[in-house]
Amino acid sequence: MNQLSLDHAGAAIEFNKNEPRVDWHDETLWFVRTKRDRAAAQVPEWEQLREAASQIKNYSLSNMHDLLEQFEQNAIKNGITVHWAADADEHNKIVHGIIQKAGADRMVKSKSMLTEECHLNDYLTRHGIEVIDSDLGERIVQLRGEPPSHIVLPAIHLTKADVGDTFHKHLGTDAGATDPQYLTEAARQHLRDTFLTRKVALTGVNFAIAETGGFVVCTNEGNADMGVHLADVHIAAMGFEKVIPRAEHLGVFLRLLARSATGQPITTFSSHFHRPRPGQEMHIVIVDNGRSRQLGRPDFRNSLKCIRCAACLNTCPVYRRSGGFSYHSAVAGPIGSILAPNLDMKLNADLPFASTLCGSCSNVCPVKIDIHDQLYKWRQVLMQEGYGPGSKTAAMKTMATVLESPRLYRMAGKIGRGVLRFAPVTVENKFNPWYTQREMPEPPAESFRDWYINNKKS
């Protein structure tokens, strides 16, 4: 079944049908979380760094208009062409226009969650442009016709056997070959040819620096650099929230990013782009796509502080046991669940409920986004705006009526205990989701209040 067409709970049921696979997924991601813990523990000022990063981002959001103008001015001075896109469609059109102007019909692209959010690949393919994703994980899922299931580890839902099958089919690797070293080498050879033959390369942007009009792209594989340094045209796509005031602030973010993401001290390449190389064109597309709307929601604006490290996905006990696709959104996991409702409340009304509100996400967040509090707040907004099922609203109204009246509460409690004691079959059946995998609590004869009145009250 296509998980993307189900709501989170429905997709999670599908995902959980293969329990050993869920265990594997959970343990693989928990391993990443423990690597993060070890890396963070090596930095004595870790919590102060998080606070500094949070404050720099708070400042940036509060001064976004001026920082963007400053960034644009300096980027233009550097010889970079700056484009502005109000939404996904405009972004896609701008990128397509640049490719057409370059006379190209093929492009190589490194990781950019923004282009996933905008569905750029679909758009370009429909317009006759071939796009090859060069990040290994992204290439794997692209060959399979899937979206990434994780913003840092796009193919984390796949086993090496899955990748082996995919590469056998598309890249001609040996049937049954599953050695990651061998498979990676095959991808290296395949993509090297791509890098050497593409005239246009697109990258994302991790940080844009207002003071200098440049931007930073971080990768481990070197794929972003390989693409753009060999291309005639470099397109960098960024959500406007990527801008930070000064280069010296990068010290804070680069110390946090990779440690939070994978437990590495820093990514292999942290590349700073300021000017095109001689003869090269460099374009920046600054995208809104709902971000300015989110900026105007006081309860949710600081979700825009996100630096896309995915630490909240790795630590999330729900994400680990439901998989990225269950979030049916470009950005999965806790951060995705507070970003997606801003894009479409109706389509994503289920996501803020895909959480126990355990709070682990907020604690690992390197920029201190109050993710779990925002999940709670989105629940309120979504239900008040009428995106809850009518049956749920009716049930909640009944519950509220009972719980606000001591008399009704006691009556309902007594009936409930009575039913469980004398007619358990009415709840211990397949229509009760609690009972599917759990026994009901054993109901006592008397409530605490009854006991208190009989034994204590003088």
Binding site: I13, V318, S322, L403, S405
Partner: protein, 256 residues
């Protein structure tokens, strides 16, 4: 006969006992243990008889706007208490963060005077010893709302010195052997209505959490929230396990 050491003299503290609805109805023994424990350390405890629920089931489902009646009822019951103490981190956290009422002055006061049981014992009463015995291997489930919401224990995500208020109290119990879990503070997956709306993930999380305790050979799983324990108990029973759950108040009042 109980012997305890505590900072404040007996009968000094007037405590209003807040017993969450599901404990009142399904786990009265936890409420009884809580009451005994508070009296044992010298508190004067009253149980306001018209209390019902903190409103969290509606609020966490996105219907905080329907909790006005619950909130007003809560304020009517507890406005006169010096302290409000509850054997639940989750319900305490909800009141602390979300209690607003027609009488907002009283609600504000309640928000600052409500305590989860273990933090009340360690921080307010400052219990140093407890005459209790529980000669078993015990796994402590760090319920998230108590731990990450009320900071009852250091959170594994933060790079900060460890502490644990429930752990501190359990260490005062004779014979109790506290085990170290592989994942010391992962959520059990109860999550309020999450336990039924996201049944697949909720049950899987519960099974995994229970398995961590079982791997370490526990006899009992304890915690500060009966909701989490109820969820794990349901899983243990379904698996016909002999391992049982006990709320921390039951262990802190246990004798040989």
């Amino acid at each position: 006969m109980y012997f305890c050491t505590y900072v404040l003299p007996k009968q000094m503290m007037n405590v209003g006992l807040f017993i969450p609805c599901y404990i009142d109805q399904f786990y009265p023994q936890v409420a009884i243990a809580t009451l005994k424990l508070l009296e044992k350390v010298g508190c004067t405890v009253t149980y306001p008889l018209q209390q019902t629920c903190c409103g969290q089931p509606m609020a966490n489902s996105g219907y905080e706007h329907l909790t006005g009646g619950c909130n007003d009822n809560f304020v009517r019951n507890f406005a006169d208490c010096d302290y409000i103490v509850s054997p639940s981190g989750s319900c305490t956290l909800h009141i602390k963060h979300h209690l607003h009422a027609t009488n907002e002055t009283a609600a504000t006061a309640i928000r600052s005077r409500i305590y989860e049981l273990t933090e009340f014992l360690t921080d307010v009463v400052q219990v140093k010893t407890l005459e209790a015995a529980f000669p078993y291997r015990v796994g402590l489930h760090q319920s998230c709302h108590g731990q990450r919401g009320l900071h009852l224990a250091q959170m594994s995500e933060l790079m900060a010195p460890p502490f644990s208020k429930p752990g501190q109290l359990l260490s005062m119990v004779d014979g109790l052997e506290l085990v170290q879990l592989d994942r010391r503070d992962e959520c059990c997956g109860f999550g309020g209505t999450f336990c039924v709306t996201e049944e697949a993930v909720s049950a899987k999380m519960g099974k995994d959490r229970v398995a961590d305790h079982l791997r370490h050979g526990v006899h009992y799983i304890t915690g500060v929230d009966v909701s989490c324990l109820m969820h794990m108990e349901g899983i243990l029973k379904r698996a016909n396990s002999t391992v049982q759950v006990r709320h921390i108040a039951e262990i802190l009042t246990a004798t040989l």
